[in-house]
Symmetry: C2
Subunit: 300 residues, 2 copies
Protein backbone atom coordinates (compact mmCIF):
# COMPACT_ATOMS: atom_id res chain seq x y z
CA UNK A 1 0.00 0.00 0.00
CA UNK A 2 2.74 2.52 0.96
CA UNK A 3 4.67 1.40 -2.09
CA UNK A 4 1.61 1.81 -4.34
CA UNK A 5 0.91 5.27 -2.96
CA UNK A 6 4.56 6.17 -3.49
CA UNK A 7 4.49 4.96 -7.08
CA UNK A 8 1.21 6.74 -7.74
CA UNK A 9 2.64 9.98 -6.43
CA UNK A 10 5.85 9.57 -8.41
CA UNK A 11 3.93 8.95 -11.62
CA UNK A 12 1.76 12.02 -10.99
CA UNK A 13 4.81 14.16 -10.21
CA UNK A 14 6.62 13.02 -13.35
CA UNK A 15 3.57 13.62 -15.55
CA UNK A 16 2.91 17.12 -14.28
CA UNK A 17 6.61 18.06 -14.32
CA UNK A 18 6.84 17.04 -17.98
CA UNK A 19 3.67 18.93 -18.88
CA UNK A 20 4.94 22.10 -17.16
CA UNK A 21 8.29 21.88 -18.94
CA UNK A 22 6.57 21.43 -22.31
CA UNK A 23 4.41 24.51 -21.70
CA UNK A 24 7.33 26.70 -20.60
CA UNK A 25 9.32 25.56 -23.61
CA UNK A 26 6.47 26.46 -25.99
CA UNK A 27 5.73 29.81 -24.33
CA UNK A 28 9.34 30.98 -24.20
CA UNK A 29 11.05 30.61 -27.58
CA UNK A 30 14.26 32.66 -27.55
CA UNK A 31 13.97 35.59 -30.00
CA UNK A 32 16.89 36.55 -32.23
CA UNK A 33 17.28 40.05 -30.86
CA UNK A 34 18.67 41.88 -27.82
CA UNK A 35 16.02 40.29 -25.61
CA UNK A 36 17.52 36.81 -26.05
CA UNK A 37 19.31 36.92 -22.68
CA UNK A 38 16.02 37.76 -20.91
CA UNK A 39 14.24 34.75 -22.40
CA UNK A 40 17.25 32.55 -21.66
CA UNK A 41 17.12 33.61 -18.01
CA UNK A 42 13.39 32.88 -17.86
CA UNK A 43 13.96 29.43 -19.38
CA UNK A 44 16.95 28.77 -17.12
CA UNK A 45 14.88 29.39 -13.99
CA UNK A 46 11.58 27.94 -15.16
CA UNK A 47 12.43 24.77 -17.05
CA UNK A 48 13.56 21.45 -15.62
CA UNK A 49 13.76 22.22 -11.94
CA UNK A 50 11.89 21.94 -8.71
CA UNK A 51 9.39 19.42 -7.41
CA UNK A 52 6.50 21.13 -9.24
CA UNK A 53 4.56 20.62 -6.02
CA UNK A 54 2.20 23.53 -6.67
CA UNK A 55 1.13 22.37 -10.15
CA UNK A 56 0.67 18.90 -8.64
CA UNK A 57 -1.58 20.35 -5.93
CA UNK A 58 -3.62 22.14 -8.60
CA UNK A 59 -3.92 18.89 -10.53
CA UNK A 60 -4.95 17.05 -7.35
CA UNK A 61 -7.59 19.65 -6.51
CA UNK A 62 -8.88 19.47 -10.09
CA UNK A 63 -9.16 15.66 -9.66
CA UNK A 64 -11.71 16.25 -6.90
CA UNK A 65 -14.09 17.88 -9.34
CA UNK A 66 -13.31 16.06 -12.57
CA UNK A 67 -11.67 19.09 -14.20
CA UNK A 68 -9.86 18.37 -17.48
CA UNK A 69 -6.10 18.01 -17.87
CA UNK A 70 -5.52 21.19 -19.92
CA UNK A 71 -7.26 23.44 -17.41
CA UNK A 72 -5.35 21.83 -14.55
CA UNK A 73 -1.98 22.13 -16.29
CA UNK A 74 -2.54 25.77 -17.26
CA UNK A 75 -3.61 26.82 -13.75
CA UNK A 76 -0.64 24.85 -12.39
CA UNK A 77 1.63 26.58 -14.88
CA UNK A 78 0.39 29.98 -13.73
CA UNK A 79 1.08 29.27 -10.08
CA UNK A 80 4.50 27.84 -10.97
CA UNK A 81 5.27 31.09 -12.86
CA UNK A 82 4.55 33.00 -9.64
CA UNK A 83 6.57 30.55 -7.56
CA UNK A 84 9.61 30.71 -9.86
CA UNK A 85 9.46 34.51 -10.12
CA UNK A 86 9.42 34.71 -6.31
CA UNK A 87 12.40 32.37 -6.01
CA UNK A 88 14.39 34.51 -8.47
CA UNK A 89 13.62 37.72 -6.58
CA UNK A 90 14.02 36.18 -3.10
CA UNK A 91 17.46 34.83 -4.06
CA UNK A 92 18.75 38.31 -5.03
CA UNK A 93 21.64 39.79 -3.02
CA UNK A 94 19.33 42.47 -1.58
CA UNK A 95 16.95 39.76 -0.34
CA UNK A 96 18.19 36.31 0.82
CA UNK A 97 21.43 36.47 -1.20
CA UNK A 98 21.45 32.82 -2.26
CA UNK A 99 23.95 31.33 -4.69
CA UNK A 100 22.34 27.96 -5.35
CA UNK A 101 18.79 26.98 -6.21
CA UNK A 102 17.43 23.70 -7.52
CA UNK A 103 20.96 22.33 -7.77
CA UNK A 104 22.42 25.08 -9.95
CA UNK A 105 23.54 28.70 -9.58
CA UNK A 106 20.71 31.14 -8.89
CA UNK A 107 19.52 33.31 -11.79
CA UNK A 108 21.48 36.41 -10.78
CA UNK A 109 24.63 34.26 -10.47
CA UNK A 110 24.16 32.52 -13.82
CA UNK A 111 23.18 35.80 -15.56
CA UNK A 112 23.29 39.10 -13.67
CA UNK A 113 21.09 40.95 -11.21
CA UNK A 114 19.31 43.18 -13.71
CA UNK A 115 18.45 40.26 -15.97
CA UNK A 116 17.27 38.23 -12.98
CA UNK A 117 14.97 41.02 -11.79
CA UNK A 118 13.47 41.34 -15.28
CA UNK A 119 13.15 37.58 -15.76
CA UNK A 120 11.19 37.41 -12.50
CA UNK A 121 8.99 40.29 -13.57
CA UNK A 122 8.29 38.61 -16.91
CA UNK A 123 7.33 35.28 -15.33
CA UNK A 124 5.05 37.31 -13.07
CA UNK A 125 3.27 38.66 -16.17
CA UNK A 126 3.21 35.24 -17.79
CA UNK A 127 1.17 33.83 -14.90
CA UNK A 128 -1.71 36.19 -15.62
CA UNK A 129 -1.37 35.91 -19.39
CA UNK A 130 -1.77 32.13 -19.07
CA UNK A 131 -4.86 32.41 -16.87
CA UNK A 132 -6.53 35.06 -19.04
CA UNK A 133 -6.27 32.85 -22.13
CA UNK A 134 -9.48 31.04 -23.03
CA UNK A 135 -7.64 27.72 -23.32
CA UNK A 136 -7.54 27.78 -19.50
CA UNK A 137 -11.33 27.68 -19.28
CA UNK A 138 -14.16 28.58 -21.66
CA UNK A 139 -15.94 30.75 -19.05
CA UNK A 140 -14.29 34.16 -18.61
CA UNK A 141 -15.88 34.52 -15.15
CA UNK A 142 -13.91 31.47 -14.02
CA UNK A 143 -10.72 32.89 -15.53
CA UNK A 144 -11.26 36.23 -13.77
CA UNK A 145 -11.80 34.50 -10.46
CA UNK A 146 -8.58 32.53 -10.91
CA UNK A 147 -6.74 35.77 -11.73
CA UNK A 148 -8.20 37.66 -8.77
CA UNK A 149 -7.35 34.79 -6.41
CA UNK A 150 -3.81 34.38 -7.70
CA UNK A 151 -3.12 38.14 -7.57
CA UNK A 152 -4.40 38.19 -3.99
CA UNK A 153 -2.33 35.14 -3.02
CA UNK A 154 0.86 36.58 -4.55
CA UNK A 155 0.67 40.16 -3.29
CA UNK A 156 1.07 41.96 0.04
CA UNK A 157 -1.85 40.04 1.59
CA UNK A 158 -0.12 36.78 0.60
CA UNK A 159 3.28 35.60 -0.58
CA UNK A 160 5.03 38.98 -0.93
CA UNK A 161 3.64 40.09 2.44
CA UNK A 162 5.11 36.93 3.96
CA UNK A 163 8.47 37.61 2.36
CA UNK A 164 8.38 41.12 3.87
CA UNK A 165 7.76 39.56 7.29
CA UNK A 166 10.65 37.19 6.62
CA UNK A 167 12.95 40.16 6.01
CA UNK A 168 11.77 41.76 9.26
CA UNK A 169 12.38 38.43 11.05
CA UNK A 170 16.10 38.77 10.29
CA UNK A 171 16.38 41.62 12.76
CA UNK A 172 13.34 41.19 15.07
CA UNK A 173 12.63 38.16 17.27
CA UNK A 174 9.54 36.26 16.06
CA UNK A 175 7.57 33.94 18.32
CA UNK A 176 5.66 30.85 17.21
CA UNK A 177 2.36 32.62 16.34
CA UNK A 178 4.29 35.22 14.33
CA UNK A 179 6.30 32.55 12.46
CA UNK A 180 3.08 30.67 11.76
CA UNK A 181 1.45 33.77 10.31
CA UNK A 182 4.59 34.53 8.30
CA UNK A 183 4.52 31.06 6.73
CA UNK A 184 0.77 31.07 6.15
CA UNK A 185 1.38 34.15 4.01
CA UNK A 186 4.77 33.36 2.49
CA UNK A 187 4.04 29.80 1.34
CA UNK A 188 0.49 29.11 2.56
CA UNK A 189 -1.36 31.64 0.41
CA UNK A 190 -0.15 30.13 -2.89
CA UNK A 191 -0.94 26.63 -1.64
CA UNK A 192 -4.47 27.75 -0.73
CA UNK A 193 -4.77 29.06 -4.29
CA UNK A 194 -3.70 25.64 -5.64
CA UNK A 195 -6.40 23.91 -3.62
CA UNK A 196 -9.06 26.46 -4.51
CA UNK A 197 -8.25 26.26 -8.22
CA UNK A 198 -10.22 23.03 -8.67
CA UNK A 199 -13.17 24.52 -6.79
CA UNK A 200 -13.07 27.71 -8.88
CA UNK A 201 -13.08 25.67 -12.10
CA UNK A 202 -16.03 23.66 -10.71
CA UNK A 203 -17.83 26.86 -9.62
CA UNK A 204 -18.03 25.65 -6.01
CA UNK A 205 -19.04 28.67 -3.89
CA UNK A 206 -16.50 30.07 -1.42
CA UNK A 207 -18.35 28.91 1.69
CA UNK A 208 -17.99 25.30 0.55
CA UNK A 209 -14.20 25.48 0.23
CA UNK A 210 -13.44 25.42 3.96
CA UNK A 211 -12.08 21.88 4.00
CA UNK A 212 -9.85 22.61 0.99
CA UNK A 213 -8.43 25.68 2.72
CA UNK A 214 -7.94 23.69 5.91
CA UNK A 215 -6.01 21.02 3.99
CA UNK A 216 -3.92 23.73 2.31
CA UNK A 217 -3.02 25.42 5.59
CA UNK A 218 -2.03 22.17 7.28
CA UNK A 219 -0.04 20.78 4.37
CA UNK A 220 1.65 24.14 3.80
CA UNK A 221 2.85 24.30 7.40
CA UNK A 222 3.90 20.63 7.35
CA UNK A 223 6.00 21.27 4.24
CA UNK A 224 7.54 24.31 5.92
CA UNK A 225 8.46 22.42 9.08
CA UNK A 226 9.96 19.67 6.93
CA UNK A 227 11.94 22.37 5.10
CA UNK A 228 13.23 23.70 8.42
CA UNK A 229 14.28 20.18 9.40
CA UNK A 230 16.01 19.66 6.03
CA UNK A 231 17.84 22.94 6.60
CA UNK A 232 19.14 21.43 9.86
CA UNK A 233 19.58 17.78 8.90
CA UNK A 234 19.51 17.78 5.10
CA UNK A 235 22.21 17.32 2.50
CA UNK A 236 22.83 20.24 0.13
CA UNK A 237 23.57 17.75 -2.64
CA UNK A 238 20.05 16.34 -2.30
CA UNK A 239 18.09 19.52 -1.50
CA UNK A 240 19.83 21.49 -4.27
CA UNK A 241 20.28 24.57 -2.11
CA UNK A 242 22.44 25.65 0.81
CA UNK A 243 21.61 24.09 4.18
CA UNK A 244 22.20 25.42 7.70
CA UNK A 245 21.33 28.92 6.57
CA UNK A 246 18.62 29.65 9.14
CA UNK A 247 20.79 28.70 12.10
CA UNK A 248 23.74 30.65 10.70
CA UNK A 249 21.50 33.72 10.33
CA UNK A 250 20.15 33.19 13.85
CA UNK A 251 16.68 33.15 12.31
CA UNK A 252 13.75 31.71 14.26
CA UNK A 253 12.09 28.73 12.56
CA UNK A 254 9.53 26.16 13.68
CA UNK A 255 12.41 23.80 14.42
CA UNK A 256 14.44 26.34 16.41
CA UNK A 257 11.43 27.50 18.43
CA UNK A 258 9.92 24.05 19.10
CA UNK A 259 12.97 21.81 19.04
CA UNK A 260 13.62 19.20 16.35
CA UNK A 261 11.61 16.36 17.92
CA UNK A 262 8.61 18.49 18.79
CA UNK A 263 8.67 19.99 15.28
CA UNK A 264 8.72 16.54 13.72
CA UNK A 265 5.70 15.50 15.82
CA UNK A 266 3.88 18.70 14.91
CA UNK A 267 4.45 18.03 11.20
CA UNK A 268 2.97 14.53 11.59
CA UNK A 269 -0.01 15.95 13.40
CA UNK A 270 -0.57 18.51 10.65
CA UNK A 271 -0.44 15.80 7.98
CA UNK A 272 -3.04 13.74 9.86
CA UNK A 273 -5.18 16.85 10.23
CA UNK A 274 -4.80 17.67 6.53
CA UNK A 275 -6.00 14.21 5.56
CA UNK A 276 -8.91 14.47 7.97
CA UNK A 277 -10.10 17.54 6.04
CA UNK A 278 -10.55 15.19 3.07
CA UNK A 279 -12.80 12.74 4.93
CA UNK A 280 -15.88 13.56 2.84
CA UNK A 281 -14.02 12.77 -0.38
CA UNK A 282 -13.49 9.27 -1.80
CA UNK A 283 -10.61 7.98 -3.88
CA UNK A 284 -10.69 11.14 -6.02
CA UNK A 285 -8.76 12.70 -3.09
CA UNK A 286 -6.08 9.98 -2.96
CA UNK A 287 -3.50 12.14 -4.72
CA UNK A 288 -4.00 14.88 -2.11
CA UNK A 289 -3.56 12.26 0.64
CA UNK A 290 -0.34 11.04 -0.97
CA UNK A 291 0.96 14.61 -1.20
CA UNK A 292 0.25 15.15 2.50
CA UNK A 293 2.30 12.06 3.40
CA UNK A 294 5.06 13.16 1.02
CA UNK A 295 5.35 16.49 2.88
CA UNK A 296 7.18 14.81 5.75
CA UNK A 297 8.67 11.69 4.14
CA UNK A 298 10.76 13.50 1.51
CA UNK A 299 14.48 14.15 1.66
CA UNK A 300 14.48 17.05 -0.85
CA UNK B 1 -7.80 78.33 -28.65
CA UNK B 2 -4.34 77.20 -27.43
CA UNK B 3 -5.24 78.52 -23.99
CA UNK B 4 -8.56 76.64 -23.96
CA UNK B 5 -6.92 73.38 -25.00
CA UNK B 6 -4.27 73.90 -22.32
CA UNK B 7 -6.91 74.52 -19.63
CA UNK B 8 -8.95 71.53 -20.79
CA UNK B 9 -5.89 69.30 -20.58
CA UNK B 10 -4.93 70.66 -17.17
CA UNK B 11 -8.43 70.04 -15.82
CA UNK B 12 -8.41 66.50 -17.16
CA UNK B 13 -4.94 65.83 -15.73
CA UNK B 14 -5.95 67.15 -12.32
CA UNK B 15 -9.17 65.11 -12.28
CA UNK B 16 -7.53 61.85 -13.22
CA UNK B 17 -4.57 62.40 -10.88
CA UNK B 18 -6.93 62.95 -7.95
CA UNK B 19 -8.97 59.87 -8.83
CA UNK B 20 -5.86 57.71 -9.06
CA UNK B 21 -4.58 58.96 -5.70
CA UNK B 22 -7.97 58.26 -4.07
CA UNK B 23 -7.95 54.71 -5.43
CA UNK B 24 -4.38 53.98 -4.31
CA UNK B 25 -5.17 55.39 -0.89
CA UNK B 26 -8.24 53.14 -0.54
CA UNK B 27 -6.51 50.03 -1.84
CA UNK B 28 -3.40 50.38 0.31
CA UNK B 29 -4.31 50.93 3.96
CA UNK B 30 -1.20 50.29 6.08
CA UNK B 31 -1.72 47.18 8.26
CA UNK B 32 -0.57 47.15 11.88
CA UNK B 33 1.86 44.28 11.49
CA UNK B 34 5.33 43.56 10.10
CA UNK B 35 4.13 44.27 6.57
CA UNK B 36 3.58 47.97 7.35
CA UNK B 37 6.87 49.00 5.72
CA UNK B 38 5.90 47.21 2.49
CA UNK B 39 2.60 49.07 2.23
CA UNK B 40 4.33 52.33 3.12
CA UNK B 41 6.78 51.79 0.27
CA UNK B 42 3.93 51.04 -2.15
CA UNK B 43 2.12 54.21 -1.05
CA UNK B 44 5.32 56.27 -1.21
CA UNK B 45 5.91 55.32 -4.83
CA UNK B 46 2.31 55.20 -6.02
CA UNK B 47 0.58 58.18 -4.42
CA UNK B 48 0.94 61.84 -5.33
CA UNK B 49 3.52 61.70 -8.05
CA UNK B 50 3.99 61.64 -11.77
CA UNK B 51 2.02 63.14 -14.60
CA UNK B 52 -0.50 60.24 -14.61
CA UNK B 53 -0.17 60.39 -18.37
CA UNK B 54 -1.10 56.75 -18.85
CA UNK B 55 -4.37 56.92 -16.85
CA UNK B 56 -5.16 60.11 -18.80
CA UNK B 57 -4.60 58.28 -22.08
CA UNK B 58 -6.92 55.51 -20.91
CA UNK B 59 -9.54 58.10 -19.97
CA UNK B 60 -9.12 59.79 -23.36
CA UNK B 61 -9.48 56.51 -25.24
CA UNK B 62 -12.58 55.71 -23.15
CA UNK B 63 -14.00 59.14 -24.16
CA UNK B 64 -13.96 57.98 -27.78
CA UNK B 65 -16.47 55.26 -27.02
CA UNK B 66 -18.52 56.78 -24.21
CA UNK B 67 -17.13 54.44 -21.54
CA UNK B 68 -18.03 55.34 -17.96
CA UNK B 69 -15.72 57.09 -15.50
CA UNK B 70 -15.27 54.15 -13.10
CA UNK B 71 -14.18 51.74 -15.84
CA UNK B 72 -11.77 54.33 -17.21
CA UNK B 73 -10.27 55.11 -13.80
CA UNK B 74 -9.82 51.45 -12.89
CA UNK B 75 -8.13 50.55 -16.18
CA UNK B 76 -5.98 53.67 -15.78
CA UNK B 77 -5.14 52.64 -12.24
CA UNK B 78 -4.05 49.21 -13.44
CA UNK B 79 -1.69 50.60 -16.05
CA UNK B 80 -0.32 53.11 -13.51
CA UNK B 81 0.38 50.19 -11.13
CA UNK B 82 2.48 48.61 -13.88
CA UNK B 83 4.19 51.90 -14.69
CA UNK B 84 5.08 52.62 -11.05
CA UNK B 85 6.29 49.05 -10.42
CA UNK B 86 8.55 49.36 -13.47
CA UNK B 87 9.96 52.69 -12.27
CA UNK B 88 10.77 51.17 -8.86
CA UNK B 89 12.56 48.20 -10.41
CA UNK B 90 14.28 50.22 -13.16
CA UNK B 91 15.65 52.66 -10.55
CA UNK B 92 17.36 49.85 -8.57
CA UNK B 93 21.16 49.87 -8.28
CA UNK B 94 21.40 46.72 -10.43
CA UNK B 95 19.39 48.45 -13.17
CA UNK B 96 19.61 52.22 -13.85
CA UNK B 97 20.79 53.08 -10.31
CA UNK B 98 18.79 56.28 -9.94
CA UNK B 99 18.57 58.28 -6.70
CA UNK B 100 15.73 60.65 -7.56
CA UNK B 101 12.33 60.07 -9.09
CA UNK B 102 9.33 62.35 -9.26
CA UNK B 103 11.18 64.94 -7.17
CA UNK B 104 12.00 62.70 -4.21
CA UNK B 105 14.40 59.87 -3.39
CA UNK B 106 13.74 56.64 -5.27
CA UNK B 107 12.02 53.81 -3.35
CA UNK B 108 15.20 51.87 -2.61
CA UNK B 109 16.80 55.09 -1.29
CA UNK B 110 13.83 56.05 0.87
CA UNK B 111 13.38 52.45 2.13
CA UNK B 112 15.82 49.73 1.12
CA UNK B 113 16.44 47.53 -1.90
CA UNK B 114 14.55 44.48 -0.64
CA UNK B 115 11.48 46.52 0.29
CA UNK B 116 11.62 48.31 -3.07
CA UNK B 117 11.75 45.03 -5.01
CA UNK B 118 8.76 43.69 -3.06
CA UNK B 119 6.79 46.94 -3.35
CA UNK B 120 7.25 46.77 -7.11
CA UNK B 121 6.16 43.15 -7.17
CA UNK B 122 3.06 43.98 -5.13
CA UNK B 123 2.01 46.85 -7.40
CA UNK B 124 2.50 44.41 -10.27
CA UNK B 125 -0.07 42.08 -8.65
CA UNK B 126 -2.39 44.96 -7.84
CA UNK B 127 -2.69 45.85 -11.54
CA UNK B 128 -4.25 42.48 -12.33
CA UNK B 129 -6.34 42.37 -9.16
CA UNK B 130 -7.89 45.72 -10.15
CA UNK B 131 -8.68 44.55 -13.68
CA UNK B 132 -10.13 41.20 -12.57
CA UNK B 133 -12.61 42.91 -10.24
CA UNK B 134 -16.12 43.20 -11.64
CA UNK B 135 -16.25 46.90 -10.78
CA UNK B 136 -13.92 47.39 -13.76
CA UNK B 137 -16.55 46.04 -16.16
CA UNK B 138 -19.60 43.81 -15.79
CA UNK B 139 -18.51 41.50 -18.63
CA UNK B 140 -15.75 39.07 -17.57
CA UNK B 141 -14.72 38.59 -21.21
CA UNK B 142 -13.85 42.28 -21.37
CA UNK B 143 -11.88 42.03 -18.11
CA UNK B 144 -9.96 39.00 -19.39
CA UNK B 145 -9.07 40.81 -22.59
CA UNK B 146 -7.80 43.79 -20.60
CA UNK B 147 -5.71 41.44 -18.45
CA UNK B 148 -4.30 39.54 -21.41
CA UNK B 149 -3.42 42.80 -23.19
CA UNK B 150 -1.80 44.37 -20.14
CA UNK B 151 0.21 41.22 -19.34
CA UNK B 152 1.41 41.16 -22.95
CA UNK B 153 2.27 44.87 -22.90
CA UNK B 154 4.23 44.58 -19.63
CA UNK B 155 6.19 41.42 -20.27
CA UNK B 156 9.12 40.35 -22.47
CA UNK B 157 7.20 41.20 -25.66
CA UNK B 158 6.60 44.69 -24.29
CA UNK B 159 7.89 46.93 -21.52
CA UNK B 160 10.23 44.48 -19.76
CA UNK B 161 11.65 43.37 -23.13
CA UNK B 162 12.35 47.04 -23.90
CA UNK B 163 14.08 47.48 -20.56
CA UNK B 164 16.26 44.46 -21.37
CA UNK B 165 17.21 46.10 -24.68
CA UNK B 166 17.98 49.30 -22.77
CA UNK B 167 20.41 47.38 -20.55
CA UNK B 168 22.08 45.90 -23.62
CA UNK B 169 22.27 49.40 -25.13
CA UNK B 170 24.60 50.44 -22.32
CA UNK B 171 27.36 48.25 -23.76
CA UNK B 172 26.36 47.79 -27.42
CA UNK B 173 25.98 50.56 -30.00
CA UNK B 174 22.33 50.95 -31.09
CA UNK B 175 21.36 52.62 -34.36
CA UNK B 176 18.14 54.56 -34.99
CA UNK B 177 15.98 51.57 -36.00
CA UNK B 178 17.18 49.66 -32.89
CA UNK B 179 16.48 52.63 -30.58
CA UNK B 180 13.05 52.99 -32.16
CA UNK B 181 12.26 49.35 -31.56
CA UNK B 182 13.59 49.59 -27.99
CA UNK B 183 11.29 52.53 -27.24
CA UNK B 184 8.29 50.99 -28.97
CA UNK B 185 8.65 48.13 -26.49
CA UNK B 186 9.85 49.96 -23.38
CA UNK B 187 7.30 52.77 -23.36
CA UNK B 188 5.22 52.21 -26.51
CA UNK B 189 3.63 48.91 -25.54
CA UNK B 190 1.97 50.30 -22.40
CA UNK B 191 0.79 53.36 -24.32
CA UNK B 192 -0.75 51.11 -26.96
CA UNK B 193 -2.54 49.32 -24.12
CA UNK B 194 -3.90 52.67 -22.87
CA UNK B 195 -5.31 53.47 -26.30
CA UNK B 196 -6.74 50.01 -26.80
CA UNK B 197 -8.42 50.00 -23.37
CA UNK B 198 -11.33 52.12 -24.60
CA UNK B 199 -11.76 49.88 -27.62
CA UNK B 200 -11.68 46.73 -25.49
CA UNK B 201 -14.36 48.15 -23.19
CA UNK B 202 -16.42 49.02 -26.28
CA UNK B 203 -15.82 45.57 -27.79
CA UNK B 204 -14.33 47.06 -30.96
CA UNK B 205 -12.66 44.19 -32.85
CA UNK B 206 -8.85 44.23 -33.13
CA UNK B 207 -8.79 44.97 -36.85
CA UNK B 208 -10.59 48.26 -36.20
CA UNK B 209 -8.01 49.53 -33.73
CA UNK B 210 -5.31 50.38 -36.29
CA UNK B 211 -5.68 54.15 -35.98
CA UNK B 212 -5.58 53.95 -32.17
CA UNK B 213 -2.38 51.92 -32.31
CA UNK B 214 -0.93 54.34 -34.82
CA UNK B 215 -1.69 57.28 -32.52
CA UNK B 216 -0.14 55.39 -29.58
CA UNK B 217 3.07 54.64 -31.49
CA UNK B 218 3.49 58.19 -32.69
CA UNK B 219 2.68 59.85 -29.37
CA UNK B 220 4.85 57.36 -27.48
CA UNK B 221 7.87 58.16 -29.66
CA UNK B 222 7.18 61.91 -29.48
CA UNK B 223 7.12 61.72 -25.68
CA UNK B 224 10.36 59.77 -25.72
CA UNK B 225 12.14 62.26 -27.97
CA UNK B 226 10.89 65.06 -25.71
CA UNK B 227 12.28 63.12 -22.74
CA UNK B 228 15.64 62.84 -24.48
CA UNK B 229 15.62 66.59 -25.11
CA UNK B 230 14.69 67.27 -21.47
CA UNK B 231 17.61 65.07 -20.42
CA UNK B 232 19.86 67.38 -22.48
CA UNK B 233 18.19 70.75 -21.93
CA UNK B 234 15.90 70.22 -18.93
CA UNK B 235 16.15 71.34 -15.33
CA UNK B 236 16.32 68.60 -12.67
CA UNK B 237 14.27 70.79 -10.34
CA UNK B 238 11.42 70.75 -12.86
CA UNK B 239 11.71 67.19 -14.24
CA UNK B 240 12.07 65.70 -10.75
CA UNK B 241 14.86 63.36 -11.81
CA UNK B 242 18.52 63.60 -12.75
CA UNK B 243 19.30 65.14 -16.15
CA UNK B 244 22.29 64.64 -18.42
CA UNK B 245 22.36 60.92 -17.58
CA UNK B 246 22.21 59.60 -21.14
CA UNK B 247 25.11 61.69 -22.36
CA UNK B 248 27.18 60.87 -19.27
CA UNK B 249 26.56 57.16 -19.89
CA UNK B 250 27.42 57.58 -23.57
CA UNK B 251 24.05 56.06 -24.37
CA UNK B 252 22.53 56.52 -27.80
CA UNK B 253 19.19 58.37 -27.80
CA UNK B 254 17.03 59.86 -30.54
CA UNK B 255 18.59 63.23 -29.72
CA UNK B 256 22.19 61.99 -29.82
CA UNK B 257 21.68 60.04 -33.04
CA UNK B 258 19.65 62.70 -34.90
CA UNK B 259 20.93 65.89 -33.34
CA UNK B 260 18.81 68.18 -31.18
CA UNK B 261 17.20 70.19 -33.99
CA UNK B 262 16.38 67.18 -36.14
CA UNK B 263 14.96 65.38 -33.10
CA UNK B 264 12.74 68.35 -32.30
CA UNK B 265 11.43 68.39 -35.88
CA UNK B 266 10.84 64.65 -35.78
CA UNK B 267 8.81 64.99 -32.57
CA UNK B 268 6.62 67.67 -34.18
CA UNK B 269 6.13 65.45 -37.19
CA UNK B 270 5.10 62.55 -34.99
CA UNK B 271 2.59 64.72 -33.14
CA UNK B 272 1.03 65.84 -36.42
CA UNK B 273 0.93 62.23 -37.57
CA UNK B 274 -0.65 61.13 -34.27
CA UNK B 275 -3.41 63.70 -34.66
CA UNK B 276 -3.96 62.64 -38.25
CA UNK B 277 -4.77 59.12 -37.01
CA UNK B 278 -7.73 60.69 -35.22
CA UNK B 279 -9.19 62.31 -38.35
CA UNK B 280 -12.29 60.08 -38.37
CA UNK B 281 -13.16 61.10 -34.81
CA UNK B 282 -14.95 64.32 -33.81
CA UNK B 283 -14.62 66.35 -30.64
CA UNK B 284 -14.71 63.15 -28.55
CA UNK B 285 -11.02 62.86 -29.56
CA UNK B 286 -10.09 66.40 -28.46
CA UNK B 287 -8.44 65.19 -25.26
CA UNK B 288 -6.22 62.85 -27.28
CA UNK B 289 -5.30 65.77 -29.58
CA UNK B 290 -4.42 67.90 -26.55
CA UNK B 291 -2.25 65.13 -25.13
CA UNK B 292 -0.37 64.85 -28.43
CA UNK B 293 0.41 68.58 -28.34
CA UNK B 294 1.41 68.33 -24.70
CA UNK B 295 3.99 65.65 -25.58
CA UNK B 296 6.33 68.26 -27.04
CA UNK B 297 5.26 71.46 -25.27
CA UNK B 298 5.92 70.26 -21.70
CA UNK B 299 8.91 71.11 -19.54
CA UNK B 300 8.59 68.11 -17.17
Amino acid sequence: MRQDAGTRLETALTEIAEAIDVQFDRLLPVPEDQRARLYEAMRYSAIGGGKRLRPLLVKASCDLFNIGWESAVRAGLAVECIHVYSLIHDDLPAMDNDDMRRGKPTAHRAFDEATAILAGDCLHDLAFAVLADERTHADATVRCELIASLAQASGPAGMAGGQMMDLVAETTPFDLPAITRLQLLKTGALIVFCLEAGAIFARIPEDRRTSLRGYAHDVGLAFQIADDLLDIEGDAAVTGKAVGKDAAAGKATFASLMGVEKARQQASLLVAQAKDHLRDFGEEADLLRDIADFAISRSY
